[in-house]
C-alpha cells in the first residue's frame, strides 16, 4: 500500500480523510513498513466501513491488518444506536468470539522439557483437535440453551473450572442479553458434538515459556516471570458461531435495502442496532460469544486434567485472562468530551482497557487489561497491557496476532508439513497436529513478523509490551 494516499498524523498514525460516501476518516495505526506491506484491499475495506450509517469518529485499522471480508481483519469501528448506527455481521465474522486465553503454571522450562514429548502426546490425546473432531460432551436442548445464556459461568457451574476463573474472562465469563431463542436449530445442531473442541486452521494450544519481560511491574501484577511456563489456548465458537455468521450475513444482505442501507460491499451486511433484525443478531451473536467462552473454559479444565496427570507440580493453573477478538460489544466511551454508549466491532482486534478501568478485576486494575497476542508455532506470542492512550486512539483496541503474510497455497508451495515439524523440533519445539498439510499452511513463515506488529502497537500506544512468550509444545487444530 502506498503511504502517499494518507495524511500522516504521527509516526504510526495514518489518516485516510473522509471522501465520497465516507462519513468519517479511516485511521491506520502501523509503522511505515507494516503499512507498505498491507494489501490495497485493506484500504478499500477500511474506507467502505467508514461509509456505514452511524459510525463514530473513524474506521480504525490495527498494525496486523490484512484483507478480510467486508471489514479488514484488524478492523475496529464503533456505532451509535441513537444516530442510526448499525450492527454488522461482517464486522464480527464467522468465528464469533474467537479468542485467546492464558493459564499460569508453577512450572519452569526444565520441568516441561523433561517430559516434553509425553506432555505433547497427552495433550494431543485428550484435547479434541482438527477437522471433524468431537468432544465428549453432548448437549440436549435445555443444556444447549443454558450454555448459550451462561457462557463460561455455565461451564464452571457444571464443574469445568472454578469461580475464580470467571473474573479473569471478559464480561466476567458471560455475555449478558444473549438470546438462545434467536440461534437457529441448524446452528445448535452444528454445535451438538463440538463442545470442548479446539477446531482447526490457526487454532492451537501451546505450552510456552516466558522468554522476555519488558515491564517488570505489570508482569509481576499478571503473575509472569522469566522462565515460567504458561499455556495459551486459541479457539472460538466452533460450528455454532460459524452458522450464526453465515445465516445473519445472508439475512442482513437481503434486508439492507428495506432499511435504506446501501452497502458498499455485500459482505458489510448490517442492520440498524435498533431494528428487530439488529437486536436478533445481537442476541444470537452474544449467545455465540457465550459458546466460545464455555468452549475455552471446558478446554481449560481438560488442560488442567492433563497437567495434573503429567506434571502435577503445575499447581492450580489459574487463569491470567481470556480475550475475544471477533466481537461487537456495547461499551461506554468518551467522544468529544461526552460519554456515549457505542457498539464497538472488533474484527481480528482485541479489547484493551487501560489501567483503572472499572470492568477490570481489582487485581489487574492497576496495570490495564492483559492483551494476549497469539503467534504461530515457531513465532513468539506476547502479553501486552491496555493503556490510557489506547482509549483515545481506537476505542481501547489493539492488534490480535501476527496476521498472515502468505496465503495457504503459497505456504504449501514453500513448505511441507514434515519439514516444518522437523525444523521446529530442531529448535526445541514439539508439534502435534492431525494434518501434515495443516502444519504447512500454518508454517511460521506464512505469518507477518509478530515482533514488528507488537512493536508498532506498543510504540503507537495501543497497548504496551509486558512479556514475550516462546513455544515449547504446540497442539495444532
Amino acid at each position: 500500500m502506498n503511504p502517499g494516499a494518507f495524511e500522516r498524523r504521527g509516526p504510526r498514525e495514518w489518516v485516510l480523510p473522509a471522501s465520497g460516501a465516507m462519513h468519517v476518516p479511516a485511521v491506520f495505526v502501523a509503522d511505515e513498513a507494516l503499512l507498505r506491506a498491507m494489501d490495497d484491499k485493506v484500504r478499500e475495506q477500511a474506507a467502505n466501513v467508514a461509509m456505514l450509517p452511524g459510525i463514530v469518529r473513524a474506521s480504525y485499522v490495527m498494525p496486523d491488518a490484512h484483507w478480510g471480508y467486508g471489514f479488514p481483519i484488524g478492523g475496529v469501528a464503533a456505532f451509535d444506536a441513537g444516530a442510526g448506527g448499525v450492527v454488522c455481521a461482517g464486522g464480527v465474522g464467522f468465528d464469533v468470539s474467537c479468542g485467546v486465553r492464558c493459564l499460569l503454571t508453577a512450572l519452569r522450562r526444565p520441568d516441561v522439557m523433561a517430559v516434553q514429548h509425553r506432555l505433547a502426546d497427552a495433550l494431543f490425546e485428550r484435547i479434541p483437535a482438527g477437522v471433524g473432531s468431537t468432544g465428549a460432551i453432548r448437549l440436549g436442548a435445555a443444556d444447549m440453551d443454558a450454555m448459550l445464556a451462561g457462557g463460561a459461568r455455565w461451564a464452571v457451574r457444571r464443574g469445568w473450572g472454578h469461580e475464580g476463573d470467571l473474573e479473569r474472562v471478559e464480561d466476567r465469563g458471560q455475555a449478558l442479553h444473549a438470546k438462545p431463542g434467536k440461534v437457529s436449530e441448524h446452528a445448535k445442531r452444528r454445535q451438538r458434538e463440538e463442545m470442548g473442541t479446539l477446531g482447526s486452521g490457526n487454532h492451537y494450544l501451546e505450552v510456552q515459556e516466558v522468554a522476555e519481560i519488558f515491564d517488570a511491574r505489570a508482569a509481576a501484577g499478571f503473575g509472569l516471570e522469566a522462565g515460567a511456563v504458561v499455556v495459551m489456548i486459541h479457539c472460538g465458537s466452533r460450528g455454532l458461531g460459524h452458522q450464526i455468521g453465515t445465516e445473519f450475513l445472508a439475512e442482513m444482505a437481503a434486508a439492507a435495502p428495506r432499511y435504506g442501507i446501501r452497502l458498499p460491499d455485500r459482505e458489510l451486511a448490517c442492520a440498524p442496532i435498533l431494528s428487530d433484525l439488529g437486536q436478533d443478531y445481537l442476541g444470537a451473536m452474544r449467545a455465540a460469544i457465550n459458546c466460545a467462552l464455555a468452549n475455552r473454559q471446558i478446554l481449560t479444565a481438560l488442560v488442567r486434567q492433563v497437567f495434573a496427570d503429567v506434571l502435577p507440580q503445575a499447581g492450580a493453573m489459574p487463569l491470567l485472562y481470556d480475550v475475544s477478538h471477533n466481537t461487537c460489544k456495547a461499551e461506554r466511551h468518551a467522544v468529544d468530551g461526552r460519554e456515549r454508549e457505542l457498539y464497538v466491532h472488533r474484527k481480528g482486534a482485541t479489547r484493551a482497557l487501560g489501567p483503572g478501568h472499572p470492568d477490570l478485576p481489582p487485581a489487574l486494575r492497576p496495570f490495564g487489561q492483559p492483551v494476549l497476542i497469539g503467534g504461530s508455532m515457531g513465532t513468539g506470542s506476547y502479553v501486552l497491557a491496555g493503556t490510557e492512550r489506547g482509549e483515545a486512539l481506537a476505542f481501547a483496541s489493539a492488534c490480535h496476532g501476527a496476521g498472515r503474510a502468505l496465503s495457504r497455497h503459497q505456504a504449501c508451495r514453500r513448505w511441507q508439513g514434515r519439514q516444518v515439524i522437523d525444523e521446529l523440533a530442531a529448535r526445541g519445539i514439539v508439534v502435534r497436529c492431525p494434518s501434515s498439510r495443516g502444519v504447512a499452511e500454518e508454517a511460521p513463515g506464512a505469518y507477518k513478523d509478530v515482533d514488528a506488529v507488537v512493536d508498532a502497537a506498543d510504540a503507537a500506544g495501543l497497548a504496551c509490551k509486558v512479556a514475550r512468550l516462546a513455544p515449547l509444545v504446540c497442539i495444532k487444530g
Partner: protein, 167 residues
C-alpha cells in the same frame, strides 16, 4: 468449455472457483474445489448420497447458499463429498414465502417483498463418505462461504462460479 475447478488466493483464506459448460456444472465444480480445501477429492469415495436444496434471490447468493449447505452437511454428518449433481432453475412463483425466523413478528417484515419472482433454486445430490482422519488427512475445516469475490457469470462458451471460503 471443459468442467474443472481451481483455488485462488485470498489473504488468510481460500477462493474456490468452478467452471463448466453450464451453470450447474460450474456449481458442481465449485463444490469440488470446496472439498479440495479440506482434502484431496480423489481420496473420497462416493459411498453415500445426500440430497440437498436451497433457494436465493439471485445466482450469486445461490452459490453461497449451495456451498454453505454443503459446509453444514459436512459438519453435522462428519462427511466429505466428492461427486455432485446439481440442477438450477427459477423458483416457482407463489404468493409469498414463509418469513425467516428473524422476520417473524418483526414490523419490518411487512415491508418484505414476498414475491418469489426472480428467485433461483437449486436441487442437488452430494455423494461422499464419512470423514476418516487417518485416511483423508483433512487440513482445515471450512467455517462458511463468504460473499467476497463472489461471482457467477457466463464466461466464453461456459460458466464460472466462485467465492472465498473462510477457514
Amino acid at each position: 468449455m471443459q468442467a474443472g475447478w481451481e483455488h485462488f488466493d485470498h489473504g488468510a483464506d481460500i477462493g474456490v472457483r468452478g467452471h463448466g459448460p453450464t451453470e450447474s456444472a460450474a456449481f458442481e465444480q465449485a463444490a469440488m474445489a470446496l472439498t479440495a480445501v479440506i482434502t484431496d477429492p480423489g481420496g473420497v469415495a462416493a459411498r453415500q448420497s445426500v440430497p440437498l436444496g436451497c433457494e436465493a434471490a439471485d445466482d450469486e447468493l445461490l452459490l453461497a447458499a449451495w456451498l454453505n449447505a454443503l459446509v453444514f452437511e459436512m459438519a453435522v454428518r462428519r462427511m466429505l463429498f466428492a461427486r455432485f449433481s446439481v440442477v438450477i432453475e427459477d423458483a416457482p412463483m407463489r404468493p409469498g414465502r414463509a418469513p425467516s425466523p428473524w422476520e417473524t413478528g418483526s414490523p419490518a417484515a411487512t415491508h418484505v417483498d414476498t414475491r418469489a419472482a426472480g428467485r433461483r433454486q437449486l436441487r442437488a445430490v452430494a455423494e461422499g463418505e464419512p470423514l476418516d482422519p487417518a485416511r483423508h488427512h483433512p487440513a482445515v475445516e471450512v467455517k462458511g462461504a463468504t460473499l467476497t469475490a463472489l461471482r457467477v457469470a457466463r464466461e466464453g462458451d461456459g460458466w464460472l462460479a466462485q467465492t472465498v471460503v473462510d477457514v
